[in-house]
């Protein structure tokens, strides 16, 4: 999974024969390293500034949003948090959280279920048509969603599913997010076939091999998929905007839109604070699972 080990393997495979100066580490001057560090620290400060600004601003009273362009609040307050807890449009904040959480959890379950089945079929079963379907799956990776949202909306509307979670959850159980299928196919292909063969000799069919040989082996990839499926669902805006109409069904992004669209511009504090609160679960995920996330990106080309 980690690309660094790959490259090490590659390196040691090539180098040993050659006179191999074992530690040909370039001796870098201290000032060069210091400059390197300085440049990166400045860059980090710039890149992370919006997040720092967001966090600090949640403690600014409303009145300071026009008048105090500085980073720190002059008279810090937690009034914004109390206001946000009450929610918006007659719906308390916890409800939006709960909706987001339900949607994201179902997205994880659906994605793991459908993408792992499809990946096993693509990677391990030889049957007529598999090559065409695989090409089609790769094609959907590049397909802009615009061409399907209108017919999908009509379909779900005809099924009476508008203003329910179905249109947002059902596609996840049907592996429409091709990235996950692709990632798992790549991963299953890396697994040694000898294990399958051994299981087959013991009389196991595909179902058994899938469940007790392949799934345990690809656990790291499944975790990566789960994290991304959760975060993508958590951040999704267009889907809920199209399908959910009653405020008690709204997930966080649509609730944030209510804050953002308020015509009374006075409530900057609450808007910014609600934005921050909605980001917290993603930031926690990021801090806890950053290795999985970053390595998932590095090895599979998954974007954020």
């Amino acid at each position: 999974m980690t690309s660094s080990t790959d490259s090490q393997v590659l390196d040691t495979a090539i180098t040993p024969g050659i006179s191999a100066p074992p530690k040909r580490r370039v001796k870098r001057k201290t000032w060069q390293t210091a400059l390197w560090l300085l440049v990166l620290l400045v860059l980090t400060a710039v890149v992370l500034y919006p997040l720092v600004w967001l966090f600090v601003s949640t403690f600014k009273p409303n009145s300071e949003f026009g008048s105090n362009p500085g980073l720190l609040p002059e008279s810090p307050t937690i009034a914004n948090y109390l206001k946000v807890a009450e929610g918006i449009g007659g719906v308390p904040m916890w409800r939006f959280f709960l909706n987001s959480f339900i949607l994201a959890s179902l997205a994880v379950v659906g994605t793991l279920f459908s993408a792992s089945l499809a990946a096993y079929a693509f990677a391990r079963i030889q049957f007529r048509g598999v090559a065409i379907f695989f090409t089609a799956m790769i094609g959907t990776l590049l397909l802009p969603f615009h061409v399907v949202i209108i017919p999908q909306y009509i379909l779900f509307n005809n099924l009476g599913m508008v203003d329910t979670f179905w249109p947002l959850v059902l596609p996840k159980f049907l592996a429409t997010e091709a990235f996950f299928v692709f990632l798992l196919v790549q991963f299953v292909r890396q697994m040694p076939r000898e294990l399958d063969e051994a299981a087959r000799i013991d009389g196991a069919g595909h179902a058994r091999i899938f469940w007790s040989v392949i799934l345990p082996l690809i656990k790291p990839a499944l975790i990566t998929c789960a994290i991304f499926a959760f975060i993508w669902s958590w951040n999704d805006f267009l889907g809920p905007l199209l399908y959910l109409t009653s405020p008690e069904n709204y997930p966080l992004p649509i609730a944030l839109r209510l804050y953002n669209d308020q015509t009374s511009t006075s409530d900057y504090g609450a808007t910014v604070t609600a934005s921050f609160v909605a980001l917290v679960p993603v930031l926690i995920f990021f801090i806890v699972f950053q290795r999985f996330l970053v390595d998932g990106v590095a090895t599979q080309g998954l974007k954020g």
Binding site: T44, S57, H146, V148, I154, G301, G304
Partner: protein, 308 residues
């Protein structure tokens, strides 16, 4: 692959069993592919030749939607223009920034992991409504960006309400999310055998020459991958433009990306046939860009045969 000359009955039974298992495992994906992707695509192509508002059955009007798009809808022309500017300016800048930072991180391993993670964070949240709201607040008049620029003597005022600055603000938001691309570049850089650099160095190649002659060709498959997915992804940006303009596409239509305009026409105005024509126009544009990229690939993308 077992296409042996003679098939014994047992083998045929085995083959049938494999086919059955294959389609069984693939069933959820196939339902999604046919039901939610392929048939909807075809249906939206049909709708693009109709007038349809979801309440009455679609009425066939031939090419009228397309004619209207290109000859009689200045909003669409502007929408297409700003979308193309956003995609064709934002994506290359993001790629260059990502490559530069990746080169910087590749200079030294110790400590690079922290920066790699820190720079990646924006990619994870950049498309969210939260970040769009932050951007709106930061680039508003009296926001911190304006405050900083004023303090060094540049008085631009708010970017969000300024038709000539709101698109740059969105492009900066796109560039801010360089991290995922950077991580992919960095992984690619780590795969380049050090021997190539050592050989080039022995030949007296300067740092720039090494970059041109070793790094770029060896990295070209990764550059291609990032360019293709970056361009396609940029066409689909919706939340940030929608939130920054509070759903209006303004000021002066400068955030009315094709996604936003399609949403407004199709779902707010109920012109679903017209919106479908827009969607198919976009699909054709994306396909042409992908086609050009794949065609030019041979001249600049270098695959070293056995990498995977």
């Amino acid at each position: 692959m077992s296409t042996t000359a003679i098939e014994r009955p047992g083998q045929r039974a085995h083959k049938r069993k494999e086919t059955l298992a294959g389609y069984g495992f693939l069933l959820p994906w196939m339902l999604g592919f046919f039901g939610l992707t392929l048939l909807p695509m075809i249906y939206s192509l049909y709708l693009s030749f109709t007038r349809y508002n979801i309440f009455q059955p679609p009425a066939w009007i031939g090419f009228d939607n397309y004619v209207r798009l290109f000859t009689n809808d200045p909003q669409f022309i502007q929408s297409a223009q700003i979308t193309l500017i956003y995609v064709l300016v934002g994506t290359p800048i993001t790629l260059v920034a990502a490559l530069l930072v990746a080169l910087l991180l590749n200079y030294r391993d110790k400590g690079a992991g922290f920066f790699r993670s820190a720079f990646y964070a924006p990619s994870l949240i950049g498309g969210s409504v939260s970040v769009a709201i932050v951007w709106r607040a930061m680039f508003n008049s009296s926001g911190p960006v304006d405050g900083f620029l004023s303090s060094i003597g540049i008085n631009l005022g708010g970017w969000v309400g300024n038709p000539s600055l709101v698109l740059p603000a969105l492009i900066i938001l796109a560039v801010w999310q360089f991290g995922a691309t950077m991580v992919i570049f960095l992984a690619g850089l780590k795969q380049i055998p050090r021997e190539l650099y050592e050989a080039a160095e022995m030949d007296g190649a300067s740092a720039w020459a090494r970059f041109r002659a070793v790094t770029v060709p060896m990295l070209s498959p990764v550059i291609f991958f990032n360019l293709l997915l970056g361009l396609i992804g940029a066409f689909q940006v919706f939340a940030s433009a929608y939130i920054i303009s509070r759903g209006s596409g303004g000021p002066a239509g400068m955030t009315n990306f094709i996604t936003v305009y399609l949403y407004k026409r199709g779902f707010a105005d109920g012109q679903m046939g017209y919106a479908a024509a827009m969607a198919w126009t976009l699909l054709v544009v994306v396909a042409i860009i992908a086609f050009i990229l794949f065609r030019t690939q041979r001249s600049w993308v270098h695959y070293s045969g056995d990498t995977r």
